[in-house]
Structure formats: structure tokens, C-alpha cells
């Protein structure tokens, strides 16, 4: 399954890239959805329609007067007319974006980067492990997998959030839970007394999840410590590390492999990632700059 994973995801990424990657296109905000207290979703209308994207890719979003930040695309790859981004307000640019209203404009460059290698999992089980805002970059992959459900074996989503109030996309989760062809497990680190779901870290869900470790593709996104432990849990179950893919975040500027801001040893996260086969980035895990 793994021989040509990188080539395939790079090819998908190239096919979706816009002709001038340094040009910012102003896009109108169609809707702003409040997801949680600090997280919101922007639904943008690219003028002249979208160029399409592959699950896992990101855009550089520019808030006028504040700056530019890399944000993964969280929308449905089957609905390319809108560009959807789910953003956690953590600093100056993302807080500015939180104040955007329908009709406002955001500059967009992209899409950039490699994608989740979903097509190479045909006939195999897929285990998706997400922590916190990490569910956003995985949402397009999940929507793709569900839209092509017959092509895959068992499909498992394991999602961990800080508290019940921090759970992203509860409507999606409810809908996916209602389907009988996907196993969805959600857990929180800290629970309010009325929470009826699981309490504990997301990595604990791996031990019981229904998949065949010898024929499974693992897709993992979240804080780096969580990724490391999730990969360890998958490996303990017997999933070879060559079949595990992770998405990484590093500070970015150009997003096209020129400035070196996102460099991690020999790799540039913007160009060679953000989705990597775990084997390729294992040595750099936990290091901010190499």
C-alpha cells in the first residue's frame, strides 16, 4: 500500500494548485459559523468558483490589516464551489478573523501542500485519529471516505476534545454515528457531570477500535504530543508505521518552499507536507525548529 503514497499525494496536490501561488484572491465571506467558544468556520466564495482541493491541503488566509496565516481546508471536496476553513482564535490574525461577518473579504492563496492519501487505502480499513482542532483538516478526508464508502474496508473515527463544549462539528459526528458503516468514538479529557460519553485521552480508544492492523491506513492530526502517542498506540496494535500518516504544523510565510520558515531538517512542511508518512518525520517530532 505504501510504495507510491508520497508520489500520489504530491500529484494530487500539484493538480489542485493555482497557477500563481503568490497571488492573493479576495474572497467574500458567505457565512460564519460559531463552532465552539474559540473556534469558528468561515465559508468563503471564491470569485469564479473554486479550483478544487484535495483533503488535507491548506490555504494561506489573509485578514486585511492583520496578516496571513496557514489554515487547512475543512470543507467537502465534493462541494468545491465554497472554500471552508475552521479556525481557532489564538492570536492576532485568527482573532481578527473571528470578527469577520458575511459580506467581508478575506485574501486566499492556495491550495497548498500534500493531501491525505485516501485513494491508496482502497480495499483497506482506515482509522482516523483526531485531537482538538485536528479534526478540521481531517474532515475533508472523512467526507471523501464516506462519499466513496464502498471502496474501503472498515472506517473508524476516534476523536478527542478537551471538554464536551470543545467538540467540533457535533452535527457531523451525530450524522456519522447514525450511519452503520462507520465506527465513531468521541472522548473528552475533562467532563461536566451531565456528559454521558467517554472520558479519557483519545489514544486509549485505539486499543478497542475495530480494525485489522495488518490492512489499515492510519490518519492522525492533532497536537504533536498526541500524534506521537496515537502513532505509538497504532503501532502497539500492529499497524506498520509505514501505513501511518500525520499532518504537521510549523510557522509559515511563503507556503511554496522558498523562504525556509517551515523547514524541518531536509523537509519543508509547506511543500513536502503538511501530510507526511510518519516514517519521514519521526526524527523531527517534538522539535520546533531544526
Amino acid at each position: 500500500m505504501s510504495a507510491s503514497l508520497e508520489e500520489a499525494s504530491a500529484a494530487v496536490a500539484d493538480a489542485a494548485r493555482s497557477p500563481d501561488p503568490m497571488r492573493t484572491t479576495p474572497c467574500r465571506v458567505r457565512r460564519v459559523l460559531r463552532e465552539t467558544a474559540d473556534t469558528f468556520t468561515l465559508v468563503l466564495e471564491p470569485p469564479g468558483g473554486s479550483l478544487g482541493f484535495a483533503p488535507g491541503q491548506f490555504d494561506m488566509l489573509y485578514a486585511f490589516g492583520a496578516g496571513e496565516v496557514p489554515i487547512s481546508i475543512s470543507g467537502d471536496p465534493g462541494v468545491p464551489e465554497v472554500l471552508v476553513h475552521t479556525i481557532r482564535a489564538v492570536g492576532s490574525v485568527t482573532r481578527m478573523m473571528q470578527r469577520l461577518r458575511p459580506g467581508d473579504r478575506v485574501g486566499v492563496r492556495g491550495p497548498f501542500g500534500t493531501s491525505w492519501p485516501v485513494d491508496l487505502a482502497h480495499g483497506h480499513d482506515v482509522v482516523v485519529i483526531a485531537g482538538g482542532i485536528g479534526l478540521a483538516p481531517l474532515r475533508p478526508a472523512l467526507l471523501h471516505l464516506l462519499a466513496h464508502r464502498g471502496l474501503y474496508g472498515r472506517l473508524v473515527l476516534l476523536y478527542g476534545a478537551r471538554t464536551p463544549k470543545d467538540i467540533l462539528f457535533p452535527r457531523d459526528l451525530r450524522e456519522w454515528r447514525g450511519r452503520f458503516d462507520v465506527a465513531v468514538e468521541v472522548t473528552v479529557d475533562r467532563a461536566s457531570p451531565d456528559w454521558q460519553g467517554a472520558v479519557g485521552v483519545v489514544t486509549r480508544l485505539v486499543d478497542r477500535a475495530p480494525f485489522d492492523p495488518g490492512s489499515t491506513l492510519g490518519l492522525v492530526c492533532g497536537p504533536e504530543v498526541m500524534i506521537r502517542f496515537a502513532v505509538a498506540a497504532l503501532e502497539r496494535r500492529g499497524v506498520p508505521s509505514s501505513e501511518i500518516h500525520v499532518s504537521l504544523e510549523r510557522n509559515m510565510k511563503c507556503a511554496v518552499g522558498l523562504c525556509g520558515h517551515c523547514q524541518m531538517g531536509p523537509v519543508f512542511v509547506c511543500r513536502d507536507g503538511p501530510v507526511f508518512p510518519y516514517e519521514r518525520v519521526r526524527p523531527f517530532f517534538g522539535l520546533r525548529e531544526v
Binding site: 485531537g131 472522548t187 467532563a191 479519557g200 486509549r204 478497542r208 504533536e224
Partner: protein, 155 residues
């Protein structure tokens, strides 16, 4: 339920996977079948820890009580998990409360009976300790991750 049925169900539980048949048979002699309704306590902090549970159905919350915050859930334990290791170590008292969040069906394994059998059969004792050590390490790792409060300090 007959001892043979206990034996068969135990052997199929993930905790006992791969255990030698004679060891499973020995353990089956210490088993009773238990059921808890939603809200029932399986055990409470400070009570004698004289057993452990093999959860077969439902969800249990392990919690502690803080006077200013009420009950605080630490983790949940589901079908396929084992619950409780305080029966292994003195002073044999529970350190937390365990409450059924749903209807819970489980096997209770009598700690006194088990300790006796482990003393007489060190191979069984080693096997059981090895499995519990794995559970304890994995819960410890999970608790450490929980304490890191990862989703606040991203990335």
C-alpha cells in the same frame, strides 16, 4: 451461569486473550456474574478492594469527589476493559468511586480467592501481574497525557 460458561466468556475477553487455558479455568473458579443499573456504584472510595471487574457491557465512570466541585470524572471504562487493581496491593482499599453510567454487566473476580491461587501458582500470578502491569502503565500514560492538557497548549 456454569463455570464452563465463565471460562469461555473470560477467554474471549481482550484482557485474557492468549492466556493458557488452565489459567483461565483457575480464574473462572473465582468469578461471579454481576449487573449494575445506571447510577449504581460498583465501588466507593475507601471501601475494601476485594475484587476486580471484567466489564462485558456498558460504561463505568471512575470519579473522585471534591467538596467544592462535586464528582469529577477521571476516566470511563467500557466493555472490553478491566476495572480495579487496588485488590492487588495493601491496604486493599479503593482509591476512587466507580459508578455505572449505563446498565453494566460484568464479571467480578474475587481478590482474596485470586491472591490465594496466585500464591500457590506463581506462573498464574506472574501472568496476571503482567497483564495488570500493562493496564496500569497504559492508564498512567493516559493520565499523564490528560494532565498535559494538550488541546490548550497546541501545537
Amino acid at each position: 451461569m456454569s463455570v464452563e460458561t465463565f471460562e469461555k466468556i473470560l477467554a474471549e475477553h481482550p484482557f485474557f486473550e492468549g492466556m493458557r487455558a488452565e489459567h483461565v479455568a483457575t480464574l473462572a473458579g473465582c468469578v461471579s456474574n454481576v449487573k449494575f443499573d445506571q447510577g449504581d456504584y460498583l465501588f466507593r472510595e475507601g471501601q475494601p478492594a476485594d475484587r476486580f471487574y471484567v466489564v462485558r457491557f456498558g460504561r463505568v465512570t471512575v470519579e473522585t469527589f471534591a467538596p467544592t466541585r462535586g464528582s469529577i470524572a477521571i476516566e470511563t471504562v467500557d466493555a472490553g476493559d478491566v476495572l480495579g487493581w487496588s485488590w492487588l496491593f495493601p491496604p486493599y482499599k479503593w482509591h476512587f468511586d466507580a459508578r455505572a453510567m449505563t446498565l453494566v454487566r460484568a464479571f467480578a473476580l474475587d481478590g482474596v480467592c485470586l491472591r490465594g491461587k496466585c500464591e500457590r501458582d506463581p506462573a498464574l500470578g506472574y501472568e496476571l501481574m503482567r497483564r495488570f502491569a500493562q493496564v496500569i502503565v497504559s492508564r498512567l500514560e493516559a493520565t499523564q497525557l490528560q494532565l498535559l492538557d494538550l488541546y490548550v497548549s497546541q501545537p
